[in-house]
């Protein structure tokens, strides 16, 4: 009896172990082998566009018989981690969006995860390419002899465009005695208007500067305006130090905004959603925000009376450049067995009709420049300013992430009065020198 009992136990344990091992090994098998040829899977993080994507997927299936399986993973941080994990296990879907800086984008390509779309774009005399905003395509492009060692080409398809600008509340400007149709064009006018607003008890500028990348965005806008593109890029290349008077002038703008009381209460830890709520509810006269805000504001307060303007200029020697380009892009998995189907779907997605549908449903400027029919006024202003856009992904050089973090956090310190612009310049330069040294050591090895 005892012998039989032990045998049963042994059998049970061994079979459980085999089942466990099979499940474990099966889950480690790359998905590509099991891919369904009539189904294309796409991952994205854009929760606001989920319904529109599902509708488009239904339409595409009805037209072609190919099922597009959109899978939403939000928030964006979780999505980023999922994409990285899937890349390591080689289980990326046929189509996926990428939330990454140019360096990481290049790493994905070099690791063989992203398909080069250049040939597909150039087909039919480049008809597909010509439809799309050039500024949006360039964000997904790697040029010849780029510093990332990536084969030249286009690696992503923009589905919309965006840029980040200053928004102003016309009603609040009017209540401060300022002509709402003539927003401030220069920095001095901006400060003067803010004094008027302050007298009326109206907050000046809101922005999600708790999400620190937006600080870097504004700082580089003004760096381009004060020093010009070449000098900014030379700083990133390590040829111009951050202690240069031009950079100190950029940092000093944040001190001026602090001293003049321009910045809304709590801006240093404010998330963009809170900033959007404050602006939409007429609690602040200015917002520094991206074109996606049009959809957000219309949901929060459809009666909001506002306009869009480039950030007020500090200097006339160089143009004001704003961040912009592709809003969201889709990449095709190079290891997918459905590459052709994925490319066909993306071509269909960026066609006039689908782009107009996305514009209507999501209020994001389309990447197709022929799909602007019926675009709202504010959105049209955003599109008009696409010529003034730039983006770190098109600079050809990239700042070290730790330098960007030091700069962003340092500006927060200026805003809370714990650092001067000069202190920050010294600190950022110190980190920059350290990172450059490390980079040289690595590459010389």
């Amino acid at each position: 009896m005892n012998y039989l009992y032990r045998k049963i136990c042994l059998f049970f344990i061994l079979s459980s172990f085999i089942v466990f091992l099979s499940v474990f090994l099966t889950s480690c098998t790359p998905q590509e082998n099991a891919a369904n040829t009539e189904k294309v899977t796409a991952w994205h993080w854009m929760s606001d566009r989920e319904d529109a994507f599902q509708e488009l997927a239904r339409q595409y299936e009805a037209q072609t018989g190919i099922k597009i399986n959109f899978e939403l993973y939000a928030p964006s941080d979780a999505y980023t981690q999922k994409i990285r994990a899937a890349a390591q296990t080689k289980t990326l879907p046929d189509i996926f969006g990428l939330l990454a800086e140019k360096r990481d984008f290049a790493s994905f390509i070099n690791a063989g995860h992203i398909y080069n779309l250049t040939e597909d774009m150039d087909r039919d005399d480049g008809a597909w390419k010509d439809k799309l905003f050039k500024k949006a395509l360039v964000v997904n492009e790697f040029r010849e002899k780029n510093s990332f060692g990536v084969e030249a080409g286009i690696y992503g398809i923009p589905i919309d465009v965006m840029n980040i600008q200053m928004l102003y509340n016309k009603d609040l400007l009017a209540s401060a005695g300022w002509d709402p149709e003539a927003p401030p064009q220069t920095w001095d006018e901006f400060l003067r208007l803010n004094r008027l607003l302050k007298e009326k008890g109206i907050q000046g500028l809101v922005s999600g500067w708790g999400e620190i990348w937006m600080i870097y965005c504004m700082a580089t806008n003004y760096a381009f305006n004060i020093m010009g593109e070449e000098k900014v890029l030379d700083t990133i290349r390590g040829k111009v130090p951050y202690t240069d008077p031009g950079w100190i002038k950029v940092f000093d703008l944040f001190r001026q905004m602090r001293d003049e009381g321009v910045l809304a209460t709590g801006i240093v830890t404010m998330v963009n959603k809170t900033a959007e709520q404050l602006f939409a509810n007429n609690r602040a006269a200015f917002a520094f925000n991206g074109s996606w805000c049009v959809n957000v504001y219309s949901g929060m307060n459809p009666d909001l009376n506002y306009g869009v303007m480039l950030p007020p200029m500090v200097s006339n020697s160089h143009p004001m450049m704003i961040w912009g380009g592709a809003g969201s892009s889709f990449m095709v998995n190079k290891r997918s067995i459905n590459i052709a189907k994925a490319v066909d779907f993306l071509k269909w997605l960026t066609d006039d009709e689908q782009q107009l549908f996305l514009l209507r449903e999501t209020k994001n400027p389309p990447s197709n420049r022929y799909a602007l029919e019926g675009i709202e006024d504010v959105l049209s202003q955003f599109v008009d300013d696409m010529d003034s856009t730039t983006h770190p992904n098109v600079w050809g050089v990239e700042e070290f992430p730790v330098v960007i973090e030091t700069l962003n956090k340092g500006i927060q310190y200026i805003i809370i009065g714990e650092k001067t612009p000069e202190d920050l310049a010294q600190e950022v330069q110190k980190i920059k020198v350290r990172e450059l040294k490390r980079w040289h050591e690595r590459w010389s090895k």
């Binding site: 172990f17 980023t80 070099n110 209460t265 709590g266 801006i267 240093v268 404050l278």
Partner: protein, 295 residues
């Protein structure tokens, strides 16, 4: 026959050993090897190409000022949790240990905060503390304490304490339950005997409750230290580590290295150093507690 029995015995423990190896030993080995490399988490990993020796550890220990600031800040929150949070938990446990009316209702109420989602708690308190339309400032105004009104989470003087307070509010329920369980194991006769001998409440607490509760204090302290040093979700949902680096804690720094800077190797070395620190603190605490117990 004996060999067969030995083989059988090994077969019985084999699944557990394999599971332990796959899910504990292998990941730890992987983290350690990655900590010796410079890798972005995306490119194909090649140990020989990415190997940088102990450079990540050197940078972390001697150059990363923000990392040590984050450790200090987590230490500050832990200190508040160890004292304030556990004192409140013990006081409430002692109150509930008596035969009071509605004792079970109090137990449920006190245990509610730990059950709530940390993200939800963080977002709700962020709203309460908000400088623009926060409830706290609204109440302070109405109570005639307008001079205290401030932007609680953006003010470097108050941000970390605000987060620590909410962490305590959220965490005291655990301590409460464990203290209560500990208190209920103390034989009532001891208190009766002490009372017959003329001991007052303070003397009973000092001479009966505290000595018998020492093992429980040790357990709660270790859990508090380990739990609080790893505080993360509250920070992320309330301040994001700001203003500046004023509310950064080790786990937010690890995340910043991993996702923000794509420095997986460095993040792994941060994880290892942080683990060693926690291990050392727990070890010291156990030693001290044993000594106290003997005394």
């Amino acid at each position: 026959m004996r060999t067969k029995a030995t083989i059988e015995n090994y077969l019985f423990v084999l699944p557990a050993v394999l599971i332990f190896s796959i899910f504990y030993i292998y990941p730890f080995y992987k983290v350690f090897t990655l900590s010796l490399c410079q890798w972005d988490g995306i490119a194909n990993f090649n140990f020989a190409e990415n190997f940088v020796g102990l450079r990540n550890f050197k940078e972390l220990l001697f150059q990363d000022r923000v990392w040590w600031q984050s450790i200090t800040q987590a230490g500050y929150i832990t200190l508040i949790a160890l004292t304030f949070q556990n004192a409140v938990a013990l006081a409430l446990a002692m109150a509930c240990d008596r035969d009071i009316k509605g004792g079970n209702i109090y137990r449920v109420i006190f245990y509610l905060p730990p059950v709530l989602s940390e993200v939800v708690v963080g977002l709700v308190w962020r709203w309460i503390y908000d400088g623009n339309y926060g409830l706290l400032n609204h109440w302070l105004y109405n109570l005639g304490l307008g001079h205290l009104v401030r932007d609680w989470l953006s003010d470097p003087k108050t941000a970390i304490t605000c987060v620590a307070t909410i962490h305590c509010w959220k965490g005291f329920g655990w301590g409460f339950i464990i203290f209560l369980a500990g208190l209920q194991t103390i034989p009532r006769q001891l208190y009766e005997a002490a009372r017959v001998d003329g001991a007052n409440s303070w003397q009973m607490f000092k001479s009966v409750t505290i000595p018998l509760m020492i093992p429980v204090f040790i357990l709660v302290s270790i859990l508090t230290i380990l739990g609080t040093m790893q505080v993360f979700v509250l920070i992320l949902s309330m301040t994001g580590g700001g203003p500046g680096y004023h509310t950064e804690v080790p786990v937010t720094r690890i995340l910043a290295s991993m996702i923000g800077s794509s420095r997986f190797g460095y993040a792994c070395s941060q994880g290892i150093i942080f683990g060693v620190i926690l291990l050392a603190v727990s070890f010291i605490q156990i030693r001290l507690s044993r000594r106290m117990n003997k005394a």
